[in-house]
Amino acid sequence: MAVAAWIVLASPAAAVALIALAGGRISGRVAGWIASLSALTSFVCSLVVFSLLLGENPDERAGHVSTLFTWLSTGTEGSGSDSVRIGLTVAIDPLSVFMMLVVSGVGFLILAYAVGYMHGDDEERRYHAYKAVFLFSMLLLVQSGNLVLLLAGWGMVGLSSYLLINYWHHRYQAVAAGKKAFVMNAVGDATFALAVFILIQETGSTDFGPVFGSAPGAIAQGSTMAVLVGLGLLGGAIAKSAQVPLHTWLPDAMEGPTPVSALIHAATMVTAGVYLIARTHSLFELAPDIQDLAGILGAVTIVMAGLIALVQTDIKRVIAYSTMSQIGYMFVAVGLGAYGAGLFHLMTHAFFKALLFMAAGIVIHALAGEQDIRRMGGLARELPLTYRAFLVGSLALAAIPPFAGFFSKDAILASAANAGTLGWCLWSAGTIGAFLTAIYTFRLVFIVFFGEPSPFVREHLHKERFEGPFAMVWPVSILAVLSIVGGFLQVPGAWSAVDDWIHPVAESAEEASGLTAWLSALAALGASVAGIILASRFYRRPTHRAERLRRRYPLATRAFERKFWWDETYDVVFYAPASGTANGLLRYVERPLFLGTLRGLGTGVRDLARSVAQLQTGLVRAYALALAAGVAVLTVVFVVVH
């Protein structure tokens, strides 16, 4: 089992090495196949580990670790309280296997899709290599057995995200977006690292077993230390998962190619925050206020992102805000302690969000790179298969049964309903969110696919045999199927496969049952259906209803369009003072002090030399006079000395 787990991790790394070393000798397509194949290998080995773990007793499933070697060790030899040993450790337990399956499975599909999408690009090989790097980092993150290695994987996914966002590095918007993403992630990395430091100090270890075991004893519940640790971990999670207030990087990250958006900014990297909270849940339980804060932030994000998505005009940005919103649901879940529900939604969301991105990618590809939905229309007639795939994804997103999203969202709402006052507040936010989700999702469907083909579409559409390259079509089909059937993994009230699977690692909170559960499910469903109806009334046929609504509520419209002025606030609070300080230092300290000194040194020496050169008159008599004067002086000196 350990061998299979290591192969999962090593396979993408080997792909990177292979692509990098092969260099120009292989074509872009081949590089893509190498990367996809490595992802497939990881998936297969994950299945192997999964099946082996299934064979064991549920109680024994947690706690397998496999250490390759001690990577870092500090302090004195032996296991005294001063020494900390950090090994290259891989954890094999239900939680990590779950994540491995999702990451490698969806990753394989998206990597294969990218072979078709990126075909013909100038630097295709670089793309596939970076994708493999990302896959390796993400697997390292979910498989690591200690906090430091997790942090390493955490940082590396941030790096891959940066590299892939500004893949088209000659576009300055892409470069700016990459920088923004990296800096915001760095803030989260810093808080995460601080939390790790505190844990090392309090528990003397970073391996999951010892840390989670001894933490309740070492840190009192509700104490300052616990709150600091919780805040640090939460900071990292919300930066990586683009929750309020560290969310502004995600929409800009859509500058990267569509498969990047699908893989990193929908299915996997942004879910790392959820994974982190689930993994370190025992630490969060020591600081319950922080856990509640996570839920609250998630709820705020659900509503805010939903509102902003109502007015977006870029097809990818709508889906990006929808991602932000859905991850808010996951945060609500783990904030309430419903780890199974949160991870279940993570999985289904990976399916239908990747599906949506990839279908959108086919549309963008067919329209030669156009992403503005105002120019699109009537594509259902031109690209029927793509339309159906998009529809499946949208229905799943809007949580309509029997599609996958219904079951997972319902599980979260049921847990919220069972959690007291705070739970009901979060439940309301979640239901409002479902309403908004339906509206903006179907707004997108109606505008892009319904009606007559727009003039732009008539001019620029170019179709291939399967509406897109075959490499792009088959992963989409598989994901569509998964979006339909994936939900049946956990049906609230009937069976809860995910909860039970995760149970040895993270005990999930109780869900509501009986009447409360049914009412909650009906309310959510009603909200979604109402949203779809509203969207169809506004957008199904070209009307001016939307325009009139905009004019009636200009302030609200402006708030949504300006994304609630978050970017502007950050500009004023952080960027302006920083750049002002930097410029001031440059002008008043660096230039006068350093350059001025250097230049002054040069001119000073030159002036000194010029004044000394005045002695050299060229007059022989003057030189002779100098000689005579010297002799006169020396005579006196000799006499006096003797």
């Binding site: 050169a613 060229g618 007059l619 022989v620 002779a624």
Partner: protein, 102 residues
């Protein structure tokens, strides 16, 4: 020894030496400078001979003769230079020869 002591000869020698130095430093004609130079050398010879007499050592006279040879050689070369200068129509003025300026 009859006549004044060695000290008197030395005093005379140094007086004429300083007169010669003054001449070298003050006059502008290279010819006069050379003449003043000869005076300096001769006064130096006088001091040598005086000391040779004081210590009854013949080496001083040898030294003085050698100095005389060198002075003669130097006068030859110096005068040759002056002749070449005048042939090239260079002004015979020490102050005008300033190529070493700067």
């Amino acid at each position: 020894m009859s006549g004044p002591g060695i000290v008197a000869y030395l005093v005379v020698s140094i007086l004429v030496f300083s007169v010669g130095a003054l001449g070298v430093l003050v006059r502008r004609s290279p010819l006069i400078v050379l003449l003043a130079l000869e005076i300096m050398l001769n006064s130096g010879n006088l001091a040598l001979i005086a000391f040779s007499r004081r210590f009854a050592d013949g080496d001083g006279q040898i030294f003085a003769l050698t100095v005389m040879v060198v002075a003669a050689a130097e006068a030859v070369v110096g005068l040759g230079l002056i002749v070449a200068m005048s042939r090239q129509k260079v002004d015979l003025d020490v102050d005008k020869l300033t190529s070493l300026r700067g």
